[in-house]
């Protein structure tokens, strides 16, 4: 018996000494850690809300929001700290929005996306796409915001999350009652609506009779099957059962589920005559090449990582050769659009060509450079 006491007392004494030592060190380092984290956060706030005075935090669901006030306690903006499930783990990012609800900043705090592919979400080019977008604009992957191909899961995860959060901010802080769709007002009939899913356009057919959604059917999609079975028919059943749209999309196929909901909402918006954010038409960017005198022209356009400069040779009213003289795109992306795009331009002898190669940014950069070279005012004869 005595032996047991001796053993446990020794263990306890060692434990106590270690506890005392650790608490001492903790009391020294804890403030330093807290202060450093605080400073880092203040620095980020300073970036987007220069000269802010104070902020207080609120929590909605598992997102944290800080309402930022200037000297005279006027709300000048909101900074959200959101955790979103990426390809490889959780992505934590800050979303800064001004008081009118438009996004002025996106900052990735921590992520574990695959280096070289998924971490494209930390580049300014990706983040800047969201600037100026308002909470009403349906931030749609692929149309007005480019989901970087090759990193679709990471980038579309970010895009969908930013869209959700901007909606939450708009509803809760900016006193905007959401553009709610009142199903009971929807006249009977079947309506079609579509929204971008993981693999591309997803179209649904919704049937409404005396103010109740009776059936929802996905008539066309190309989602990845393993994801899609998680979302369909589970999500439509939920919508029909609850007759509203904020249902749990954490089905392990968040992107497809949100796409279905969005498509059903678009279908009903059309039915109610609320204008759906239509496609921003790109004005045709073509010039008449045959008029351009023969010669070599130099021009430059905006690629993914920086300027792309080209040398275009025109002979007999035709583009004969396009040489890319300078670029610093990421090798594996640039390879997808060079020499494909120059060949396409020469073949079709026009700039209005399909730029959705594996690297949309670089492709558009080249077209811009050629346009810049040939455009008589801005381009110069070499």
């Amino acid at each position: 018996m005595r032996n047991i006491i001796k053993l446990s007392v020794t263990l306890a004494v060692v434990g106590i000494i270690s506890a005392a030592l650790l608490t001492g060190v903790y009391n020294v380092t804890a403030p330093i850690i807290a202060e450093r984290q605080e400073a880092e956060y203040r620095q980020a706030l300073e970036l987007y809300f220069p000269g802010f005075a104070s902020y207080d935090s609120e929590e909605i669901g598992d997102d944290y929001f800080d309402l930022i006030y200037d000297g005279s306690d006027e709300l000048i903006g909101i900074m959200g700290t959101i955790e979103q499930q990426g390809y490889d783990g959780t992505i934590t990012y800050n979303l800064a929005m001004d008081d009118s609800g438009s996004i002025i900043g996106v900052r990735v705090v921590s992520h574990s996306e695959t280096p070289g592919i998924g971490d494209v979400i930390t580049t300014e080019v990706f983040q800047e796409q969201f600037f100026g977008k308002n909470y009403e604009d349906p931030i749609v992957a692929g149309d007005d915001v480019n989901a970087i191909t090759g990193a679709t899961v990471s980038s579309s995860a970010m895009i969908n999350s930013i869209r959700r959060v901007s909606g939450v901010v708009a509803e809760n802080f900016l006193g905007v009652e959401s553009v709610a769709i009142d199903i009971s007002e929807v006249p009977d009939g079947t309506y079609q609506g579509s929204a971008p899913g993981l693999g591309g356009e997803l179209t649904v057919e919704v049937e409404v009779s005396d103010g109740v959604i009776v059936s929802i059917e996905v008539i066309e999609h190309n989602e990845t099957p393993t994801y899609f079975i998680e979302a369909y028919p589970f999500i439509p059943e939920q919508i029909i059962a609850e007759q509203h749209f904020d249902i749990d999309t954490q089905t392990g196929a968040t992107i497809s589920s949100e796409a279905i909901i969005e498509a059903v909402q678009n279908a009903l918006r059309e039915a109610l005559g609320i204008e759906v954010g239509e496609e921003p038409e790109e004005e045709p960017v073509d010039i008449n090449i045959s008029e351009i005198p023969d010669g070599i022209y130099v021009g430059s356009g905006e690629g993914f990582y920086g300027p792309i400069t080209v040398e275009v040779e025109v002979a007999g009213g035709q583009i004969v050769s396009i040489v890319i003289t300078g670029q610093d795109e990421t090798p594996e992306y640039f390879r997808e659009s060079n020499p494909l795009i120059p060949e396409r331009i020469i073949e079709e002898q026009s700039l209005d060509i399909d730029t959705s190669t594996g690297a949309t940014f670089s492709a558009k950069g080249i077209v811009q450079a050629v346009l810049n070279a040939l455009d008589s005012e801005s381009g110069g004869e070499d």
Partner: protein, 284 residues
Amino acid sequence: MLIIYAIAALGVIGLLFGLFLGVAARFFAVDTDPRVEAVKEELPGANCGACGYAGCANFAEAVVSGEAKVNGCIPGGDETSKAIAGLLGQEVGSSVQPVATVFCIGDSFKTSDKFIYDGVADCEVAGNFLGGFKTCSYGCLGYGNCVKACLFDAIKMGEHGLPVVDTEKCTGCGLCANACPRTIIKMLPRGDSGYLVLCNSHDRGKSVSKACEVGCIACKACVKVCPEEAIVMEDNLAVIDLEKCTDCGKCAEKCPPVTIYRRNAIPTEAQALAYAAEKSAESA
């Protein structure tokens, strides 16, 4: 304030677990007989299973409980049995330690290969593949399963493709005998007297002589000549009973392919290599 919580928490947890372990040690104390531990110390600890028990710990318990004989540990040999006997206060029966003997002298120069085998380096696997690459389907294939099985480094694979037993190191545990897929190695009581038929082939006549220059062709010459009838034919293979054998050596003289040798004159690796050199000199 925090420091008090920390000290309290860790102190309590340390105390708790210390008590917990102490009580558990007492409550679940397994009343192991100290003698078992002492006997276990004496054993070589190779867990070879020659004593017939599952490892040394098991054998130690059996010896202390009187179930197993003091000299049951074969690898341990005499000094282990004496040590255990000393511990348990019993007198020592002399343990006759067997030795591993290879019943095949058909080395790679006296037999030939049917085909070139480049598969898994394992006797069993090689043996299963079309009856083995050697012309004799009972002979040693030379991939050393016995060598791998031996815990006392007492058996080595010779240049001539047959295992060579180091009788000093061999503790008679029998692991090599079990490991050999063709049971070429047998455990015999130690001794130099007596003759052995160093072959394992159950074929007859022509098929043996074609396969190996020194294989037993079951001609029964040795059986007829042996004055003590110590030799008996078991499925076309002559087997000499060492108890009856009076070491007269008549069988060895009569054996046409010279497969029978006295126990202390078993053909060695050197002889085989010399034979090979001479044979290649002849043919060159």
